[in-house]
Subunit: 498 residues, 2 copies
Amino acid sequence: MKMKVKVLELNAGGKMIGIVNEKDALELGVHPLDKIVLTKGNRKVTVTVDTTRNFIKPGTIVLYHDLKKIIKIRSGDKVYVEPRKPLVSKLYIRKKTDGHELTCLELRTIVDDVIAHNLNDLELASFITALHIHGLTLDESISLSKAMIETGKRLKFPGTVVDKHSIGGVPGDKTSMLVVPIIAASGLTIPKTSSRSITSPSGTADRMEILAPVDLHIDEIKKVIRKTKGCLVWGGSVDLAPADDLFIRIEHPLGLDPLLLPSVMSKKKSVGCKYLVIDIPTGTGAKINNREEAEKLARDFIEIGKSMGIKVDCAVTRGDQPVGYAVGPALEAREALEVVMNMKQSDVFDKATSVAGMLLGMAGKGNRKIAELMVKSGKAERKLREIIEAQGGDPKVKPEDIDVGPYSFTVRSRLGGTVSSISNAALVDICRAAGTPKDRGAGVLLSKKISDSVKEGEALFTIFAEKRQKLNAAIKTAKSYEIYGILSGRRKMLVEKI
Amino acid sequence: MKMKVKVLELNAGGKMIGIVNEKDALELGVHPLDKIVLTKGNRKVTVTVDTTRNFIKPGTIVLYHDLKKIIKIRSGDKVYVEPRKPLVSKLYIRKKTDGHELTCLELRTIVDDVIAHNLNDLELASFITALHIHGLTLDESISLSKAMIETGKRLKFPGTVVDKHSIGGVPGDKTSMLVVPIIAASGLTIPKTSSRSITSPSGTADRMEILAPVDLHIDEIKKVIRKTKGCLVWGGSVDLAPADDLFIRIEHPLGLDPLLLPSVMSKKKSVGCKYLVIDIPTGTGAKINNREEAEKLARDFIEIGKSMGIKVDCAVTRGDQPVGYAVGPALEAREALEVVMNMKQSDVFDKATSVAGMLLGMAGKGNRKIAELMVKSGKAERKLREIIEAQGGDPKVKPEDIDVGPYSFTVRSRLGGTVSSISNAALVDICRAAGTPKDRGAGVLLSKKISDSVKEGEALFTIFAEKRQKLNAAIKTAKSYEIYGILSGRRKMLVEKI
């Protein structure tokens, strides 16, 4: 059926919707939530049907503006509308749901249908859930990685490209902000793309954004890399693996992450990475709870890497407390700057130089000692400032220039002893109540970490907020948790003084 | 945040959406697909966020008209908008996803959140998929049935209420159109609600609609039952178990059906059913493939029935070919009328009198012989005409009054022998191509069924359509299948002549 297009200037969060009059829906033989195929010239797109009795007349189809990019449509255009034929990829999803392994071709068909927006949110949610429950075989992970690469963009950078990736889950992890300048200063190329926070207090893109713009286009990224050999940018606008971005859109609200391996590996391959270190924070309160799990994941990363020509080493790191002392975008950017400037002792230094040392070793360019020297000699700091400048930030920025929230509250210990545990989950919730990641100056600054001794009445941590109301909410949240474990004499007690 | 409401007259297929300006979304700290809670007076509803840059100004929220019923909102009203707190039922869904059994209270919490539209389509799709993969324990099915009953409407009818339900999957099953008048004529009460077709050629509501309106309100249903003791109406507008209807909205597009048991049993309990026969069509091409599966399902139905005071008997029936000869709304209504009028021999008579006989036996009112007599004596016909009249149809309708599609094509056998198999799936696809369920006069009329002998060139079946183009499409579909299996001499061959 030929229909006239009317474009609605709404952002539907990536949902592809076409609204038609109920009479046209009847004529097409479709119901709300069914799929229809729109054809204009040689472009085709599949959208979900919405129906209306009065809002639009028969003969017209209303489309959200998200579609304009895909099918190049404007109000007034004519499109040919027909019900969608049954999708073979729905059968493949059902096959996985019923516990069977999918072939390379079947997974590629699914990825193609995801990119063409042929599969709807329900079908994707069902697929993601089935993948979570049944897991992916190594072959499935490799097939999916390849399908994601083949359907995405490839970038070529000069020199030997290396990269690092943390599977995440530990607050305050500003390691990349040191690893990138160390590596770039050693002459290797490290085009680091990272994510913004979804539910955590801060993503690497959020931290770096305190120092410089991170929302760069591909051409700008290429320029930064040519100039400095490194970058720290947001991956969201790079469009390296569009299928992965569409999966993530469903995975995040469900809190499921079955595509971790293909998601990471496809993006690394797309930037031409040769050597890769995967950081697997492990411990109570991290994503991975024990060494055994960590080792299995590490083996899978290494195997998939082999299949696509990436040499992978994995670092199983401690994930039972925040990395460094600061949690929250501004506080973390400040700490990263202090550490790279050799102004502050922190385990961030240990972690960053370990990871950088592994990368240097893999590429035959040195070891951990060399990485430490890069920081101590000031070379890493100079490189970070070069990158900040290339991305459009102020290369002269000092830690004290970085504003943090003006409202603060310090939590003190009710007794003396040794810190035996710190709850990541509690700190994340406190930060969220304090306003992170939206309020850049909000967060938590620890005074004590695990193994530190603490006296009665001494500060354990300080909460920062940009608004008094949010500080109060954060204090209320803090009261509902047992955040610090203190080993005092023979008894272990969980104690704060609020 | 207080916001002004603007109502959009769009049917979003039950999706609860609120569209706000990007600036307001930032202020609320929410992204597209996140949830926000709207409060007006003492009414609350949770909707999914959509954002727009230009379509609406900050301070206004655009709502679809589906919401008007739930929160009684009109354009110009003020509502209080806030981000939703984390849902505990999301944790329960995750628990099931991870393979653990849910408690009665946990399932009730999920059902409450489904009804309050707190869970979004992704979360429901994920839950349905997890239920499909892990299955439900008997306790879970009982808990879910109870939660669905307690959150739905209850209807009270006079007399002893009995009912039948087929789990479906076999085309042409017009059994209910005979069982209801037989039972009602015997003095028992049978308030039969049934579904319209989603993907099958015809649902019982579609068949009955050829003879009388089926879209009755509860008060009208009560009147019909008081007058005739039976009815054959569409269940969709009765709102007996709203949670189930919301689950079905997600199950249908996914082609998953994990809630079969609670779905059926909650609806039967809600109409006060005491004796229930579940028809389980079994065989190649039916939903249930073998006797073992059928018996397990039967035991589960019986057990759940016990827990809620419904005596359940199950009929495992042959599901390897259509019931009767006709498939498609008008053709089936015509066949049902012919059989109840003793004009035509058909296995519909056998099946209907068996099921009715079981119900009569359970209620101490007779047996299969009595059921057969009800038809042979003309009592069932008189009762069906009473029901047709009470529902607003023509009680004098004759089989030849029912129009079927004017375009037809007869498929003949290429060789003589005995019919050994008929493909349900093929017939369903042919009917769909011919225009069912939308084109009421479309469908297929069989001339031969399994075990019938057939001569070379003799008719196997005839396709009917309302439009020539659709008849051609149906013929094309027929050519792509092996529909009839004919046992000829020693060789079994699949043969039609098109």
